[in-house]
């Protein structure tokens, strides 16, 4: 199955290039221009990344999160949810940067090619930050009553956790 995955990036690159050439785009100049913007963007986010790695690592290494979720171990095991994935499952809807650090921590602890490491990467990649986007988008236009928006968003995040679990067992068991 991983062979299918390996086709995606070359396929996108190939398709974009051929399409752009047919549209008479100067692809070399476009690439360099975009790359220049990319480097500025990555420098711009550096301080935010550092802030998050710093703050989140202190919380993770204190053992607070692990100890907290250990309390729920019996319940989680009943549903076959590994307790180790929980810190990621709860931070993912709140902040993308925070959950990114949690994902790295899981990969560091359990190995990048372990099933937990894979599950973490899928979970991080397959969904976006519900609460952050909700407060940003609704806040920008002054919405105060969000109705069922949060409920719909969080239910979807729950499904993503279950999907990550199922897919890892399906593809890599």
């Amino acid at each position: 199955m991983s062979t299918i995955s390996n086709y995606f990036i070359p396929a996108i690159v190939f398709f974009v290039l051929v399409y752009a050439l047919r549209k008479k785009v100067n692809v070399y100049d476009s690439f360099c221009h975009g790359a220049k913007e990319g480097i500025l963007m990555s420098i711009e986010i550096f301080p935010f990344l550092m802030a998050m790695i710093f703050g989140m690592n202190i919380l993770l290494k204190s053992g607070f999160i692990t100890d907290f979720f250990s309390l729920f171990r019996p319940v989680l095991e009943m549903f076959h949810i590994p307790v180790e994935i929980m810190p990621l499952a709860v931070t993912r809807p709140v902040s993308g940067n925070a959950s990114f650090v949690v994902m790295i921590d899981i990969i560091k602890q359990y190995g990048v090619d372990s099933n937990l490491g894979r599950m973490a990467a899928i979970l991080q990649g397959a969904t976006d930050t519900t609460i952050y986007v909700l407060s940003l988008y609704f806040g920008s236009i002054g919405i105060k009553h969000i109705r069922y928006a949060l409920k719909a968003g969080l239910l979807t995040d729950l499904i993503t956790v279950i999907m990550a679990l199922l897919l890892v067992t399906l593809f890599f068991a």
Binding site: V13, G34, G38, I58, L136, G142
Partner: protein, 197 residues
């Protein structure tokens, strides 16, 4: 919001670490986190720069507009309250296509414009309209084809095959997006019923 969350991470961490006798580890962690950020930057930045370059080619070839146009017929089903020519749909399409290609920072301006356009047609200005909520769940369920930052991390920690998760991730994101739309519709119907009672 970020202000309080970030501060509480650090305060809770240090206090709990102190109580459980992990001050040595905390000390090391604080000193090491600067270096860790730099290491991460060194792996993820080149990939991000490369991908921005490729996406710029797509932008200059107007491929994003083309993809957005292809989404139109699907939008008729997803947003029954909106007219097919609504300008909000254009912004929503741009927002989602950019997200799909994994350039999240670039998609936010379109998302905000879409919300503003939806707000103009919203009868109750302080209450989220049906289309707004649908757009929001569509956005947060997040259809992403290539997540370069995750790829970079998998490379950094020496994965045997860093890209092997692209296909499973796409399945997960497509399924959760379909589910998001179903939940959205179900909750909308329920809220309408309640208002009638």
């Amino acid at each position: 919001m970020m202000n309080k969350i970030w501060a509480s991470f650090i305060i809770v961490g240090i206090v709990y670490g102190f109580l459980t006798g992990k001050m040595d580890i905390m000390n090391q962690e604080i000193i090491a986190s600067g270096n860790e950020t730099l290491n991460l930057f060194m792996v993820s930045a080149p990939l991000m720069v490369l991908w921005s370059g490729i996406m710029q080619i797509a932008k200059d070839a107007r491929l994003l507009e083309k993809l957005a146009k292809m989404l139109r017929p699907i939008f008729k089903v997803i947003f029954p309250d909106l007219d097919e020519k609504d300008e909000a749909l254009e912004y929503i399409a741009s927002n989602l296509t950019i997200n799909m290609l994994g350039i999240h920072n670039a998609s936010t301006p379109f998302g905000l414009k879409a919300m503003k356009a939806l707000q103009e047609k919203n009868p109750k200005k302080d209450t989220a309209s049906r289309s707004m909520i649908t757009f929001l769940v569509l956005n947060t369920s997040g259809v992403t084809l290539i997540a370069t930052d995750i790829l970079a991390i998998r490379m950094m920690y020496g994965s045997q095959n860093p890209t092997e998760l692209i296909f499973p991730t796409i399945i997960a994101t497509v399924v959760n997006t379909c589910f998001a739309l179903l939940v959205d519709r179900f909750l909308y119907r329920r809220s309408v019923k309640r208002e009638h009672h």
